[in-house]
């Protein structure tokens, strides 16, 4: 359970003190920590584990693809208006990270023909990516360290931009926190392809705000939780502009004695008329001692919307298993095939080819009896 009373105080760095974001930031930070929504986010994971990562030395992530025309990379920029992008209220612990480390800002002003790639060798500086209006870009992330680590990433999508974001989180079994905040302006389109194995604790926070009219977000996530490991996903999509849409599909497999948590919150604001939100979370437990927490949530403040959400927890389908076996496939191989198929429904995007074999890797070591 959460230990919300134990949160370290923060001090504002110089670059924040005279900015709109810095104004009253300490008070807003403290108020945010007391909010019910904050407590709900940390219901199954001890927040101290994550805030403790702030004491680790953070390094600048390696970048590739940044030599393309239209990209400007700046360390600790002198002037950066983050007031509309960084929300202390929604994620105070991510704001605290922003106060602690140097900052990497990446501005993209032209279509990219090659992906922009972020490679992490451990805990990272916070990264902010600004995609200008009408820009198309692909962002990929990889994690190369097996040490405890954290990354925080803010993405701002200009009007009519298209950002495809893919990340494969496979190599570390240590404590790992990944925070992504997305702000999508009018008619922009954000796609996230999330493929992950669990670790001793892998915590994935994804917060998407569809602020502009017609903005769209699409999230596909495939997660394999091996025995005794743990993955906690907290996804919030806020529909703020009119005619915004979101589509989420999250498939998780949890091995015996593994634990997964999924909290998918969709918040339809008053002004988000004619919005459409779909959320599906499906979980398969492979043993009697798998722990699966799932909570899809809808919070709607406009009558003129279309929303659907659902979550399932179950075992592999007996009739599918029998069908495969009736064709000569042994039960253990049939179960692996079904698990593979279940995960692969949510594997797509630029890192899909490496994600497919990695996701089913833990299944090869399991008896599947």
């Amino acid at each position: 359970m959460a230990d919300l009373d134990v949160v370290e105080p923060i001090t504002l760095p110089n670059w924040l003190t005279d900015t709109p974001l810095g104004e009253g930031a300490i008070e807003r930070y403290e108020r945010a920590l007391a909010r019910p929504s904050h407590r709900e986010r940390w219901k199954y994971t001890r927040v101290k584990k994550i805030t403790g990562l702030r004491s680790l030395p953070a390094i600048r992530p390696d970048l590739s693809g940044h030599e393309q025309a239209g990209i400007v990379v700046t360390e600790n920029p002198d002037h950066l208006d983050l007031a509309d992008l960084v929300s202390i209220q929604r994620a105070p612990e991510a704001f605290a990270q922003l106060c602690t480390q140097p900052l990497l800002h990446i501005a993209v002003s032209a279509d990219l023909s090659q992906p922009l790639h972020l490679s992490y060798r451990g805990s990272s500086w916070p990264v902010i990516i600004d995609a200008a209006p009408n820009v198309k870009l692909t962002l990929t992330e990889a994690y190369e360290s097996d040490q405890a680590q954290q990354q925080t990433l803010w993405l701002r999508l200009g009007a009519n931009s298209l950002v495809t974001h893919a990340r494969n989180s496979f190599y570390s079994t240590a404590l790992h926190w990944q925070f992504v905040s997305v702000q999508a302006h009018a008619h922009s389109h954000y796609r996230l392809h999330n493929h992950a194995l669990a670790s001793s604790l892998r915590r994935q926070d994804t917060q998407i705000q569809l602020v502009g009219d017609g903005a769209h977000a699409e999230l596909n996530s495939a997660v394999m939780v091996a025995e005794r490991l743990n993955l906690d996903q907290q996804i919030t999509i806020e529909h703020i502009g009119a005619q915004t849409s979101s589509h989420q599909r999250v498939h998780n497999i949890i091995a015996d004695r593994g634990q997964s948590t999924f909290n998918g919150r969709i918040h339809i604001h008053n002004g988000a008329k004619k919005s459409n939100a779909q959320l599906s979370n499906k979980n398969i437990g492979l043993g009697a001692s798998a722990t699966i927490n799932t909570k899809p949530e809808l919070e709607i403040y406009n009558d003129d919307v279309s929303c659907a959400h659902g979550a399932t927890i179950g075992r592999l389908d007996d009739s599918q298993l029998f069908y495969l076996c009736s064709r000569g496939v042994a039960p253990a191989a049939a179960r692996r095939l079904l698990c593979e198929g279940f995960l692969h429904q949510c594997v797509d995007g630029p890192l899909a080819d490496t994600a497919r074999p990695a996701l089913i890797g833990p299944l090869q070591d399991m008896s599947m009896a």
Binding site: Y323, S326, A333, G341, L343
Partner: protein, 250 residues
């Protein structure tokens, strides 16, 4: 020696106190023969198919069943398939995420391994499967999709026949393969079954209607009622049933 030999088969559905469905069924099919089993709803036709294939939840309470002298009752479903039994499902299952081609390769490889045969070369295998699909009027693009995912009823049944031709079992049990098929699809499916049949294998057709037997001519027709075969005859028995129904026999 019969290819399929079923003697005094009693079977029930469910746990120990499950309902008895088959009550002393006898059936012998020789290599090269096609048998049809017809019967009213609830007579036990699909239960027979499920018992033969080893579907969980179906129990043999008495009697024996063997394929090519191998006792089927002691085998798991995958072992029965490896022994040469094939069940074409009445309601083929959809498996999203597992591509048809991947499934067919896994199945072919499993059977080859069980028979100590060489696993087929991947490229040749794909070509072979595509050719089979085309011969059954099944768009080869379907092979990339999830198993039976989004297939129409007719496409699912043609996919079953594709598997029959690919896996080439000793004994094929077709459980109401004709249900839900239009006349053109029925002809395609029947042509597939006729292509499969030879002097070394056997076919057991389970059907409600005589229509299928216009295209797959059986050697023997049986009438199943209340868990037993109550009448057997040649193909003319099916015509008689079509004309008179089942009541004159039960």
């Amino acid at each position: 020696m019969s290819l399929l030999d079923v003697r005094d088969l009693h079977a029930s559905v469910g746990e120990d106190d499950g309902q008895a469905i088959l009550k002393g069924l006898n059936l012998q099919i020789q290599a090269g023969e096609v048998h049809a089993i017809m019967g009213p709803n609830g007579s036990g036709k699909s239960t027979l198919a499920n018992i033969l294939s080893g579907r969980p939840g179906y129990r043999v309470t008495r009697g024996t069943l063997s394929l090519d002298s191998e006792d089927l009752a002691v085998l798991e479903p995958h072992e029965r398939a490896q022994a040469g039994l094939f069940l074409a499902f009445q309601y083929p299952v959809e498996i999203p995420g597992v591509s048809n081609m991947e499934f067919l390769k896994a199945s072919t490889d499993s059977l080859a391994k069980a028979r100590n045969a060489e696993q087929p070369d991947a490229a040749a295998f794909v070509r072979h499967v595509r050719t089979l699909a085309e011969s059954l009027d099944l768009d080869p693009q379907f092979l990339k999709r999830g198993v039976n995912e989004g297939f129409s009823g007719g496409e699912k049944k043609r996919n079953e026949i594709l598997q029959l031709l690919l896996l080439d079992p000793k004994m094929a049990v077709l459980d109401e393969t004709d249900s839900g098929l239009d006349i053109d699809a029925l002809k395609v499916v029947a042509e597939g079954v006729n292509r499969y049949r030879n002097d070394n294998n056997g076919v057991l057709l389970i059907t409600h209607y005589q229509r299928l037997l216009d295209y797959i001519v059986p050697d023997v027709v049986h009438v199943l009622a209340d868990g037993q075969i109550i009448q057997s005859g040649d193909k003319n028995l099916a015509l008689e049933l079509e004309a008179k129904g089942y009541t004159w026999l039960t």
